[in-house]
Amino acid sequence: MLNDIVFFLTEAVNGMRRSGMMIVISVATVTVSLLVFGIFLLVSVNITHLANFMASKLEIRVYLKDSVGESDVSMFRDRLRAMPQVKKLEYVSREEGWKQFQTSYPTMALGEMITQNPLPNSFRVFVVDDSQFVSFAKYLSSIEEYVEDVTYGDIMAERIQMLYRFCRYSGYILVGLLTMATLMIVMNTIRLTVIARQAEIEIMQLVGATNPFIRAPFLIEGFLIGVIGSLLSVGILRPMYSYLAIEFQKKVPFVPLVYDPVTLRYVYFAITGAGIFLGTVGAFIAVSRTLKTKY
């Protein structure tokens, strides 16, 4: 067994050396394909992040009827808190609300125009699942015994939700399509290196080598092509992204980009994983086609 593994490894490395230019082309193809794949992945991650960020700013404001007394307020608070959709809940008394309002719009000199506080008591409600945001807001407005009015930036919220959904699904579809395109490219490139060695494969079959035995070195080659190609593309992508992100932020500071090293690490792992997967699977499919025989 160990014998075989050593043999397969040396076969793979020697095979790559013998293929020379073909391997260089394969690696370059994998690198470029993964680069495109990686750029789309980063763009997709950022758009999702942006949509997420905007969605997290969404809040439902529930204004209470003036007739609702303090004990009722705490009862309603408990009721809200028990709802599974509620992520965060904040009570804003009418005094507090007034203060906030005045600090938000200091130039209006409201104190002179309106002497009495016109605001009712209210709750700021943040929801767990953004996709239920609108329906939940509507539901809250139906609790008439407590609720005077509910605001949630109706149209804005719906738009953001649509954008969010659109980004997520189009991202999935795009990444899926790109994975397939990359697989095709990688497979066909590796297939060229296999075709170049078709005679060799036939000889191996004639000498009594089983298909797995013939396939093994090619799989290792595909794996190595994937590893080298993906490391190269990550090596290009990482500094490029850092640079572009900083430049972008200088120009458009209010749009948040993904800096979180954990998320970025996931992206780079995904690219590396995709490269290794595509290289190995590409080699497998390419060799299997050649191994089909007539007997």
Binding site: N3, D4, F7, N14, R18, A199, E200, E202, I203, M204, Q205, L206, V207, G208, A209, T210, N211, F213, T293, K294, Y295
Partner: protein
Amino acid sequence: MIRIKKLVKKYPNGFLALDNIDLHVGKGEFIYLVGPSGAGKSTLLDVIFRSELPTSGDIYIDNFSLNHLKPAQVPYYRRNIGMIFQDYKLLPGRTVYDNVAFALRVMHYPRSRIHRHVSQVLELVGLSEKVNHVTAELSGGEQQRICIARAIVNNPPILLADEPTGSLDPETSWEIMQLLSKINSRQTTVLVATHNKSIVDDIRKRVVVLESGKIVRDKHFGTYDG
């Protein structure tokens, strides 16, 4: 050893390469398959080696019917048969040693045994000095010797040779045939398809003559023409 019964091979284009062949080959026999080009000599070897499937009929090796051979078993079956090709079919870019050793590696031999067997067989074919040469550096006769060494390195009971001297000069051809004779003397059954009249006439063995896919003559100690 080999029993061939009512063997027919018809190619998709309608060409009838083997027409109802019956042949019995005993253990340790040496047979020349002769006849004009297209007579079916190579096809017969290919069907025995299972690089072609017969259209009908059957081949028995030691009473095992090849009709029962599954595709996945073919590599294991071939390890019992050494095959020598006119164009040698050596793995390019590899040394003499690696080419011969490959036949044992596919059988998962440990390294030390591979080394021992390869050294012995290269000695037998007279290539001990060239172990580490890349095959492309060697002459036709030497490459044919590598091919022979690879075919017999695991001591298969049957050796098939398809025009082994087809691209060699008379002297080298003679040496190669001497080598096959020597291998035959170790009780290996040998079938040689050849055009080489002088060799068939000089090294007298059983001669099977094929014409248009049929056996027209089968004679012990025969000659090329009769």
